[in-house]
Symmetry: C2
Subunit: 458 residues, 2 copies
Amino acid sequence: MSKDKPSIPKGTRDFGPATVVKRNYIFSVIKRTFEKFGFQPLETPTMENLSVLTGKYGDEGDQLIFKILNSGDFLAKISGQDLEQGYKPLTRKISEKALRYDLTVPFARYVVMNRNEITFPFKRYQIQPVWRADRPQRGRYREFYQCDADVVGTNSLLCEAEIVLMIDEVLSTLGLDDVTIKFNHRGLLAGIAEAIGAFGREADLCVAIDKLDKVGQEAVNQELRTKGISEESITNLQPILGLSGSVEELLPQLDKLLKDSAEGKRGLQDIRGMLAFLGSFSQTQAKLELDVTLARGLSYYTGCIFEVKVNNAQMGSISGGGRYDNLTGMFGLPGVSGVGFSFGVDRIFDVLEELNLFPQDSQTITQVLIANFDEASMTYALPVLQAFRQAGISSELYPDSAKLKKQMAYADQKNIPYVLLIGSEEMQSGQLNLRNMRTGEQEKLDLPAILAHLKNNL
Amino acid sequence: MSKDKPSIPKGTRDFGPATVVKRNYIFSVIKRTFEKFGFQPLETPTMENLSVLTGKYGDEGDQLIFKILNSGDFLAKISGQDLEQGYKPLTRKISEKALRYDLTVPFARYVVMNRNEITFPFKRYQIQPVWRADRPQRGRYREFYQCDADVVGTNSLLCEAEIVLMIDEVLSTLGLDDVTIKFNHRGLLAGIAEAIGAFGREADLCVAIDKLDKVGQEAVNQELRTKGISEESITNLQPILGLSGSVEELLPQLDKLLKDSAEGKRGLQDIRGMLAFLGSFSQTQAKLELDVTLARGLSYYTGCIFEVKVNNAQMGSISGGGRYDNLTGMFGLPGVSGVGFSFGVDRIFDVLEELNLFPQDSQTITQVLIANFDEASMTYALPVLQAFRQAGISSELYPDSAKLKKQMAYADQKNIPYVLLIGSEEMQSGQLNLRNMRTGEQEKLDLPAILAHLKNNL
């Protein structure tokens, strides 16, 4: 057996108890909201057949898929010739499976495989880890969770409106109340391309505009030139990039600008449809902002697109999504329109830490520790312990008669709010000593009073 | 892009909503119980360094570990010579990481890596999937969840007693009330080896006796002969294999039998210690049975061992565990005693299905579906929908004005207990039509009455 100092693979993380508890708090808020809106959970296998994944994420993405070596003698069917052709063709011969790269492709695969059993519209959410062989960096991991919710099988703009409502509910429940939900529509981007005299070039436009926030207007123009967009088109684009104002102010300007573009008009109609639904619900906390420069990289979006920013924190987008018309087309099932979005849990975690928004009781598992002085106090404590647990109070008895200081440190480290001290005096009187670890106050109470006190204060 | 019919790797499973919801019910009962007893959650990465895993599960186990191909040009550092040495040495050159095979070794690795930050005793639970390249069979998968709870850093027999209490609480909460918790102690097995004149041969004894249930007494004896156990020892063993009766009846017989064995006496003392703790708690539902033929395969157990059987179901052990004295020794940290156990969720799932024990409300996500007749009813429904959600009721509005039959089928398929029908008459009167999908009853009520009705009935 190896006695080397053990380690974990770079880009992966152990989540110790304090972190898991906080992460679970975020997951539970997301999950509760998804379910409140009628989304059902789906779980797909960690391993997918390599043929399901390859070709779905571009060449660069394919390189980042973690492949699993075939079990047993994977060399048995390999010849010297296979080796000479390099590692890429060889990979296909010694590996048939890979770790999932996102939750979208497995979802599309699931829908196609189960199309006859699924009742559409199908509202599913999925909270599972994904793996990417990216170079690890601060905030970028090789294993991380995605939290996706998608509806497929309906064109209704109610779904877009409900995405806004869900984002608002999750973030305001987490205490994030200064949030902007930016949205745009792929049709607007196509219409703008048309309007500036660059018909059909919206893909290049998107890629360049997507970087506007990061690199600035001049660098975007330079990229557009490199892509062969004419100077005239670039000049026409400038006032559009500078458009600002409320949705109500922007829509009439866009009506004028895009009046000759079918795609542009489709985009404006969808946006008005979504806003009409939102108007029927009472006001959301999040600010809604139409941003015609919002592009989002993923090429499969065809309708509304979303991106969410916390205004008072140092962090990029914490959620995003949009409508796609043909996600299942990659597996031979065309014409299933859908719309979905995703929360970035690692980023939300960092924002909540930065703003100190994790509630204290989201950080506690054990609610009462009973200190262990000696065999007599331990024996006395056992039925007390059982009474706590029967009352639904998470509790434990320190298993050894260790020094009190050590037991207190244990309670501190586990963030346990109450310690019960049962010395010989307490055993005689039945008045047990309950210590509030946050305030340092101690109170002598009998068991029923302790149970009542805890019920009221936990 | 591939248009082939997509599939998933053999031995893996998609969990559709109906299954996830039932599985989550089991997980939540287990999790709630672990936390009630003061266990904290830990999560370790899916990928471990191969060096952490190899050599921990025996040669056969090593073969069943899923290895991950190094990313990039894994052939770059490979020579023709490497290839001639066969696939096993080559694996080490093209793979550095692997999928975790169980939760025990990663836990030991975590404890050793974080020994300076952890406050002992460390009570952790871990509910995560593991992967084994086993030949898939009915009930045996290549990806499956383990639910482990362990305490390390204390010898207290309170931990053994609490394992019994937790097993009892989880299974009785799930409605499994005819359960036997079998236990034994490795010291008893060593003592029996000594008593029958086969001192030090308890490992061979365990391996053979472990199969008693499956192959019968004669085949066990045959295996013992093959292992070189003398005829005299085998003859001495027979009455011991046949020992039966309550714990109270067995203990005095074992006192006599093992009076000259230090290991045997240690085992009896531990068992009495555990039973004394259990006696201080009120009676558990599960039957406790001392079974001196219980061996459990895993060689790292050194103290009490457990195994759990549901008596009225066709299923093997659904939970098991025991005490080990040196789990972290494999990573160079000796002397950390611990005790732990694990629930088999797939088996529990099958038992609950067999006995029809999944509660109906554990199978529901959406509680109310609002039917969608036309644009007017849809607009009317939006604030109603919001009122439901604000009251904490999971609800959805069918997104399209589809045929009612289709919408009802949707509610049925999602197991939604109530459908709200808002036709033109209902909109005028404000008396909305609430249909109970289980009974078929319909009732006309205003919104506050509906909210009250749902609050009382969900």
